[in-house]
Symmetry: C2
Subunit: 186 residues, 2 copies
DNA sequence: AATTTCGTTCTACGGTCGTTGAATGACTCC
DNA sequence: GGAGTCATTCAACGACCGTAGAACGAAATT
């Protein structure tokens, strides 16, 4: 059989790899790097632990693959426009929990090696915000902004602060509007 | 020997327990619950692992003891006053990293059991902010505020975002002033 | 000085982990 | 339809973990 038609084997292999990766992502996000075991990922994906190793090489490489996210568009424009884009991004992160990003975040906090595997992948560090913030202390204000937004997403999805976990995303975004705008303006 | 005079043994025992607790706190904060091993704590405190068990019963109880912090004073007053108190508290957390609180935070993110051991100890969840914020959505605004402040401390001490990790605490507090004030006001 | 107390170490068990390499058996191809 | 490929499983290893209990030796008590 030639290379354009995919065989049954090809289909099953890809399907299995996807299943492993999906479960890995979920587990890394839910329980962090250390407490996510190869064995647990394998069980969730209904395969043998050895198969996970065979496809991904090591736990570390599995994490790296699981942590891959489509790089987000760079925010840009005037201070007001940047603020609105960030708030919109926040709203999305409040509604759908950004599984891969949370996996990275949670694991960066637990396993330095996991963080190394991710460095330069800019969903956490800066989130491409840096270049969009101008004026005095632009870089610092960008980091503060990142920290603030990370804090809110973290508080809702990981810490599950009572009110924050249940609140209407629109309401949260509304409350944070002035705070975010005060930081985008130089 | 009676009970008012402390013996050499008493002194050495208390000294050893303190040493273990100090190292435990440091390690829990630095590497989180899972990656902090009883053996590592023991080695850092220069004692046998068994002694740690003997004094603290289990890893979980050791963590509970390490996570104890003096409960912080409740913030109160007008919206402006609350904002100033929170900013002052933030400044302190930016200068001296709050080791015990970070240990709790880091471990809450990695080990649910560790978090359970701490529930009701209010340094993270709410930080007693809740009752001080009045007006519409007071409880929610308190949680958002907690999340924002946690995010900044986290970004500086744990994630070590470039600019945020090195910046002058006063400068950070200054930048966050408007954001915090916008959230304390109903 | 003899005896008891107790702070501390030593040794070991059972369990789980990441990882490996051989074995298996269904699918592919000629 | 027989040979070969390859997705997958099986069994086992060495390492490290939390934990338990016996053993030791210096301080305390009598």
């Amino acid at each position: 059989m030639n290379s354009v038609n995919e065989t049954t084997r090809d289909r099953r292999r890809i399907e299995t790899q996807d299943r492993i990766l999906t479960e890995a992502r979920r587990l890394f996000a839910e329980t962090g790097y250390d407490r996510t075991t190869i064995r647990a990922v394998a069980a969730a994906a209904q395969v043998d632990p050895g198969l996970v190793m065979h496809y991904f090489g090591s736990k570390q490489q599995l994490f790296a693959r699981a942590a891959e996210t489509e790089s987000r568009p760079i925010v840009e424009g005037t201070a007001e426009e940047v603020a609105e884009q960030l708030l919109e991004r926040l709203r999305a992160s409040l509604i759908d929990e950004p599984v891969a990003s949370l996996a990275v975040l949670r694991s960066m906090l637990t396993h330095p090696d996991a963080a190394d595997e991710v460095r330069g992948n800019a969903h956490v560090r800066g989130s491409n915000i840096g270049k969009a913030i101008h004026g005095v202390d632009g870089a610092l204000r960008a980091d503060v902004l990142s920290a603030v937004l990370i804090g809110v997403v973290l508080g809702r999805h990981l810490l599950k602060l009572d009110q924050l976990a249940d609140a209407d995303p629109d309401k949260i975004v509304e409350l944070l509007g002035p705070a975010v705008r005060s930081l985008t303006k130089g």
